[in-house]
Amino acid sequence: MSNIQKIHFPGQHHNERIFLVIRRHWLMFAKHVFWLLFMAALPILILLLINIFLTDFFVPDDFFTILIVCGVSTYYLFIWVFFFRDFLDFYLDVWILTDERIVSIEQLGLFHRVVSEVNLTKIQDVTSIVRGAFATFFNYGETHIQSAGSEKRFIFRQIPDPNGIARTILTLHDSARQSSDQYHETRPL
C-alpha cells in the first residue's frame, strides 16, 4: 500500500481512494522563513551596534538590563508564535483528490476554516493558470474548477504544477463518469 493510501481524512467514505493530496507551493512559505530570519537577526544587530558605537554613552545598569532582556524575550516569543501561525495557515490548506470527489480544506486564520467538496461527475470545466516569472520558473499557479453544484467555482491557489493537476482532475472526472454511466446501465429496474 502506497503512503498516500495510508492517509485518511475526516468524512472519507468507505472504499474511497485518495489519489492526490495537494498543498500550496513551498515557495509561498519561504518568504515567511526569510522574514523570520530577518526579524530574528534585527535585535542582535541593534545590540551589536550599540555595543560598538555607544558603549561610552550607554552603560546599562541592572534595571535597564532587565528591561532589555524582557523586551527582547517578548519580541522573540511573539515573532516565533506568529511564524508558527503562518506555518499552520500554509500547511493546513489542503486539496484532496479522490476517486469520488474533490475536497477543499482552507484554513483562513485561527478559528476560521472552510471545507467544501465537489463530486467529480459534476465538474464541467477545469482551467490552469500560471502567471508571472517566478510562477513560470518554479511551476506554480492556480487551477480553477467549474462545477454544476452550489459551489460553482473551486480555486486551488498557489499549487505546484497546476497544469498537471488539471489533467489529473479531468482523468478522474472521465473515470467517475464512466463508472456512473455503467452503474446506471446495469442497475436493475
Binding site: I66, V69, T74, L77, V81, R85, L88, V94
Partner: protein, 89 residues
C-alpha cells in the same frame, strides 16, 4: 519616585501569559486539523522546544541580574512656596 524592577517582571509575566494563550490556540489547531502526516507534529514539537529555549535563556539572564535590588528613579520636580524670599516693604 522609584520604580522597582519586579514591576517589569510582572508585566513580562502578563505578556508570557498572553503568549501561552496564543501558543495553545495554535497547538490546538495543529493537533486537531494536522491529520495527514508527522510534519505538523514535528513542527509543533520544534515550536514548543524553541519556546522553552527562549524562556530558559531569559531565565538565565534574569537570574544573573539583581532584580530584587534594581530600581529606577524618576525625579519629579516639586513646587513649594519659599516664604523666606518674600520681601516686605
Amino acid at each position: 519616585m522609584e520604580i522597582p524592577a519586579f514591576i517589569i517582571l510582572i508585566v513580562y509575566g502578563v505578556i508570557v501569559f498572553l503568549f501561552c494563550i496564543l501558543a495553545f490556540f495554535n497547538i490546538y489547531h495543529a493537533i486537531r486539523f494536522g491529520i495527514f502526516d508527522t510534519a505538523v507534529k514535528f513542527v509543533t514539537l520544534i515550536f514548543i522546544l524553541v519556546s522553552l529555549g527562549i524562556f530558559f535563556i531569559t531565565g538565565l539572564f534574569l537570574a544573573e541580574s539583581h532584580w530584587r535590588d534594581a530600581k529606577f528613579f524618576i525625579d519629579i520636580p516639586t513646587f513649594s512656596a519659599d516664604t523666606s524670599k518674600n520681601v516686605r516693604n
